[in-house]
């Protein structure tokens, strides 16, 4: 697979095509599975990891599943290429930065990816655009069945799928929903939402899972419990709570446009103006400004900009994407200059189409 060509397209999950896509960016199902006759990755020798990789690679490429998965060996890739896959959510940061034989199988649409030799031997994930948890689960379930025809999983009746970390044992499933919640952040109600979610045992994280501060006002909600509840129960619990958060966000957006219309319009236009004119731009500032622009588009304060294009800018302005798009390595100051140039060009292009 030619990784350079990835930057010319976008993963399906950015399409803003599913239900409630103005607020729900994407839904993700991740299943952790292990081979029953090998030690877990953390305890496997390099030789064993190579055996595991060989075993899984052959079977992943052969399984009777559409779309076809193509395997990418991560060990020989440059740090930049691995970072590119992290930014696209095809692999985890942990897998990118770990060592030894490891890889990822994915299909061109980037809906499905299967990591090999992450914390567990197999970590398969399905990411779909919009509020589509059930569809994502159906895909993951189907892929899991197909792989299990060929691969003997570590499983016991009492504890379910056995995983390296006891926090994943049972279903091995993490179901998550990525939400864009700029109005709840602006109106300072986001903490309230956090506390309510924690009370019902759901975890909240920022985009790319870094620390507590969510850049770009993106929040990921996921289950913590994996043992003692079925996959559908876990998914239903999340699916039932998300509409409440969507409603809070919509109410907050309405309140903002009703009571603080001038301020919101000012914020959105300033963000747009800075993005279109600045000469240097950090990744962090880009995320914050794009968040305001995204809110502006959804509130109808900026005309005729496709929300998909805005979604895409969040990813294409990440460090590895920027360097890939420009075709060379950049230090962080160069990146800030090139990021600003890239944003100016893209946004002016969009503007001139109108």
């Amino acid at each position: 697979m030619n990784l350079d060509s990835l930057t010319e397209q976008s993963g399906e999950w950015l399409r803003a095509s599913g239900p409630e896509a103005d607020i729900v960016i994407s839904c993700r199902i991740r299943l952790a599975r292990n081979l029953s006759s090998f030690p877990f990755t953390n305890r496997a020798s390099t030789h064993q990891k190579a055996e595991i990789e060989q075993y899984l690679k052959g079977r992943l490429e052969k399984i009777d599943f559409e779309p076809r998965l193509e395997y990418v060996n991560l060990a020989p890739l440059s740090a930049l290429d691995r970072q590119l896959l992290v930014e696209r959510q095809l692999i985890s940061r942990e897998l990118a930065n770990s060592e030894g034989p490891r890889g990822v199988a994915f299909a061109g649409s980037e809906i499905i990816s299967v990591m090999v030799n992450e914390e567990d031997h197999v970590r398969m994930q399905v990411i779909r655009s919009g509020f589509t948890l059930d569809e994502a689960w159906q895909d993951a379930d189907r892929l899991d069945d197909k792989l299990e025809e060929k691969v003997p999983y570590a499983f016991n009746e009492e504890l379910g799928y056995l995983t390296a970390c006891p926090t994943n044992v049972g279903t091995g499933m993490r179901a998550s929903v990525m939400l864009h919640l700029p109005a709840l952040v602006l109106t300072k109600q986001i903490e309230k939402v956090f506390r309510a979610l924690q009370k019902i045992n759901l975890a909240v994280r920022g985009l790319y899972g870094e620390g507590s501060r969510a850049s770009g006002d993106f929040y990921q909600i996921s289950n913590q419990v994996t043992l003692g509840k079925s996959e559908t129960t876990i998914i239903n619990e999340i699916r039932d709570v998300v509409p409440n958060i969507i409603n809070y966000e919509r109410q907050a957006r309405q309140a903002l446009t009703r009571e603080n219309h001038a301020q919101v319009l000012d914020r959105v236009r300033r963000a747009f103006g800075v993005l279109k004119n600045a000469a240097m731009m950090t990744s962090e500032e880009t995320m914050d400004l794009l968040s305001s622009v995204r809110l502006g588009v959804n509130l109808g304060l900026i005309d005729d900009i496709d929300i998909f294009k805005v979604n895409e800018l969040f990813i294409h302005t990440q460090p590895a994407h920027l360097q890939k798009l420009l075709g060379r390595q950049l230090d962080s100051e160069e990146r800030n200059t090139e990021r600003a140039r890239f944003l100016r060009n893209r946004l002016r292009e969009m503007d001139s189409l109108n």
Partner: protein, 165 residues
């Protein structure tokens, strides 16, 4: 070290700095919870796991510290330090200290989700494969390459037999 408000052993240690003066505090899990000290701490999964594991083992530590998985060689104390199992068999070997931990994390102790149709059917064969792979590793270590080649063929054969489709 004992908890400063009761007789249990302290598992929560805090350093407070007030007006430039350092002050150390030590509490057991229960007292720390009563004082709501734990809520202010950032959620650190590994630390929580370790503290929960430590708490559940308590007095049995001596006996448990000698527990080693015959399959992957991980010692109970290593599992405790890392919060990660070494192989699927550890869930049996360390079952006793693991069950209360799982109950704490998940508030559940039994899997009620998906059951893979093939895994149980192939359990016996898998145990055999595990054994063969262990023998293969031993053969390679003592440089008995003829044995290794024979074992490798055997493994290949069994792996292929394992594949229905």
């Amino acid at each position: 070290m004992k908890c400063q408000s009761c007789e249990q052993s302290a598992t929560v240690h805090l350093t407070e700095i007030v007006n430039g003066k350092k002050k150390e505090k030590h509490f057991c899990q229960d007292c720390a919870q009563k004082l709501e000290l734990l809520k202010q701490q950032e959620l650190n999964l590994t630390a929580i796991l370790q503290s929960v594991i430590g708490q559940h083992v308590g007095g049995q530590t001596d006996e448990l510290s000698r527990l080693t998985c015959p399959s992957c060689g991980i010692k109970y104390m290593e599992f405790k330090a890392a919060g990660r199992c070494g192989c699927p068999q550890d869930y049996q070997i360390f079952r006793e200290p693991l069950m209360p931990l799982l109950e704490r994390i998940h508030r559940g102790r039994r899997h009620v989700g998906k059951v893979p149709p093939h895994a149980l059917k192939h359990a016996a064969l898998q145990a055999e494969l595990r054994e063969l792979r262990q023998q293969l590793r031993n053969a390679i270590e003592r440089e008995a390459y003829e044995d290794a080649a024979r074992l490798r063929d055997q493994i290949k054969q069994k792996e292929n037999a394992d594949e229905p489709g």
